[in-house]
């Protein structure tokens, strides 16, 4: 058991951190804190989803918020009031119109539908490489947004879906966040994840080692869309009311910012980024609202939140280009100085027999 925990200490520490954060939030009894925490955990699920693809394949995706939206609508279709669905969403299949499914089924749908869409789109997209692939994922986001904004009989178009039971609180959200962390970790250390990370480092060598790069990318794309979709499903059942608007550029960039700030090549980085960005945004939001000094309120001008986040990202990219995690995984402090420290201590030994070290 001890060995098991030491070997898998990264997800264990991350999950422990999440649970402690949730417990602290609930203990304060503060309604706002709990709402903020819940939203943060939901975003964490989405960012972990993003990371499964981006972190392991090295290809930036702008499309995953589209998958989150697909997941959110799938959950809404399953759980909204039948009376509402029959009037407003007449294009839905009858079994969805007439029934109200429980939470578990809603999340299942929110996971499977985006995964299916990702499989179909990814089969074509994963043939592209580098920037072309990234821009194509951006096209996915635009297409999903247009379809969902205009398909009135199924999505209620530009008006909203209401009557979704709000069953997601901090504990449910943290449970899914932990599940996402564990899933992502298992994928990272799996044979598949390893091959995908190899192709991220060097595609030529990966193919020479018989790694089917495109297939690995497609698997990661589908899995990551499923996780992002689950995040969307949670979001729908957290808000209770759903429109298309949130699932577009704003959320795309804030989730990518979280990944960049934390460091996209490590799972711990993805988690750290979500925490860091949420805390900064909340502090700036507080500052915008202002602090009362007697009769006057002193606060930052509106828009400081976005500017502050932009400045933060720029600073991190300048001073820590690999993000807060610096590309490393979280390990228990006592275990940390093993290989890394040995490497630092004896770099001369590593190069001793060598006149020309690597370029």
């Amino acid at each position: 058991m001890r060995d098991f925990l030491i070997r898998h200490q990264t997800p264990a520490l991350l999950v422990a951190g999440l649970v402690i954060a949730a417990a602290l939030g609930v203990l304060t009894g503060n309604e706002t804190a709990q709402v903020t925490l819940t939203e943060m955990f939901i975003r964490l699920v989405v960012v972990i989803g993003l990371w499964v693809f981006i972190g392991n394949s090295g290809i930036i995706s702008f499309g995953h918020i589209g998958f989150m939206g697909i997941g959110a609508y799938a959950a809404a279709w399953a759980t909204a009031e039948p009376s509402f669905k029959q009037i407003m969403l007449s294009g839905l299949p009858v079994f969805l119109q007439e029934n109200q499914y429980p939470f578990v089924f809603a999340i299942l749908g929110a996971t499977l539908l985006p995964a299916l869409v990702a499989l179909l789109l990814g089969a074509a997209l994963m043939r592209l490489a580098g920037t072309a692939a990234s821009i194509a994922t951006f096209a996915v986001l635009m297409i999903v947004n247009s379809v969902y904004a205009n398909w009135d009989s199924v999505t209620a178009g530009s008006s909203s879906i209401i009557g979704i039971p709000t069953v997601v609180g901090p504990w449910v959200a943290v449970g899914f966040a932990a599940g996402a962390v564990i899933t992502a970790y298992l994928f990272q250390i799996s044979r598949l994840g390893l091959m995908l990370r190899a192709s991220r480092d060097d595609e030529v060598a990966a193919r020479a080692s018989a790694v089917e790069v495109k297939r690995m990318r497609l698997v990661a794309f589908v899995l990551s869309a499923a996780i992002a979709g689950a995040g969307g499903g949670l979001y729908a059942q957290f808000l209770g009311i759903l429109t298309v608007d949130p699932f577009y550029l704003g959320l795309t960039f804030i989730t990518l910012a979280m990944l960049v700030v934390g460091g996209m090549s490590s799972l711990s980085g993805a988690v750290a980024g979500v925490f860091a960005v949420t805390i900064i945004v909340e502090l700036l939001r507080l500052a915008e609202r202002g602090v009362p000094f007697g009769s006057v309120t002193v606060g930052l001008p509106l828009g400081s939140q976005e500017i502050g986040l932009g400045v933060l990202m720029a600073l991190i990219l300048i001073f820590r280009p690999n993000g807060l995690s610096n590309g490393r995984e979280l390990v228990w402090p006592r275990r940390a100085p093993t290989d890394e420290a040995a490497a630092r201590k004896a770099p001369s030994a590593a190069l001793a027999g060598e006149a020309a070290p690597s370029p």
């Binding site: 480092d201 060097d202 060598a205 990966a206 193919r207 020479a208 080692s209 018989a210 790694v211 020309a356």
Partner: protein, 249 residues
């Protein structure tokens, strides 16, 4: 002995640039063949064509009984043909251990992948010392050893090595050659090695091809070419009076 690899009248073009023309060669089972030639002679292109990295415009390439022209690199690798690309392509953020294991993934669920792994570490004791190191932090020589070791983990019948000496100190290069030849002695591995310089090659190779300007200029047994004169003239396109007559305008 039948040829393991046959390259027949291969032409490779990059757009308007013809990188290889009328290249034919054959490699028998268990042989060590070296291809030498100056920068830009087409050596890397030739290996890439064999390994599926580039598709020849004309010509045939047979590996064993299989025509490998137009087959993707990952599929060719599965046939038992492994390329160590030029410039130490290792997986920099993965550990040495992970780099090696990826080489072994090619044989799904094979029980003796573990035995291969142990056997390799005996050949590469320096890698064993650094198993949990990120490969990107190894020295140049260690990275080259890792690239070779990873290729050997795929249990190839034919190993192609593109300029193993590039940018490395002579002593390290000697070590790498010792390991390669050791592999050949122990397991009958067939080797094709690209090099720019012939000195080391003459000692180790069975046969030599000299490539210049995309054409094979000279082919022969290493023993017959030992004085280096014929190689020099083929390599530079001039040198001894005998060949000067042939190529002078």
């Amino acid at each position: 002995m039948g040829a393991l690899l046959t390259v027949d009248d291969v032409h490779v073009r990059y757009g308007d640039l013809v990188a290889l023309r009328e290249v034919s060669l054959s490699v028998a089972q268990g042989e060590v063949v070296c291809i030498i030639g100056p920068n830009g002679a087409g050596k890397s292109t030739l290996l890439a064509a064999v390994a599926g990295g580039v598709t020849p415009w004309r010509g045939a390439i047979r590996f064993g009984d299989v025509d490998v022209v137009g087959i993707r690199p990952e599929v060719v690798a599965r046939q038992g043909l492994s390329l160590v690309p030029e410039g130490r392509h290792i997986f920099g953020t993965l550990t040495v251990d992970e780099n090696l294991r990826i080489g072994g993934f090619i044989h799904k669920g094979r029980a003796d992948a573990k035995a291969d792994y142990e056997r390799l570490l005996e050949l590469f004791p320096r890698l064993r010392e650094r198993l949990n190191f990120p490969a990107g932090r190894l020295s140049g020589g260690e990275q080259q050893m890792l690239a070779v070791a990873r290729a050997v983990m795929t249990r190839p019948r034919l190993l192609l090595v593109d300029e193993p000496s590039l940018g490395l100190a002579p002593r390290i290069v000697d070590q790498i050659y010792e390991i390669l030849l050791d592999l050949r002695r122990r397991e009958g591995l067939t080797l094709v090695i690209n090099e720019q310089s012939s000195n080391r090659i003459l000692k180790h190779a069975d046969r030599i091809y000299v490539l210049r300007g995309g054409r094979i200029q000279l082919e022969g047994r290493a023993a017959d070419l030992a004085d280096g004169e014929a190689i020099r003239s083929a390599y530079f396109g001039f040198g001894s009076p005998a060949t000067l007559e042939g190529v002078a305008p």
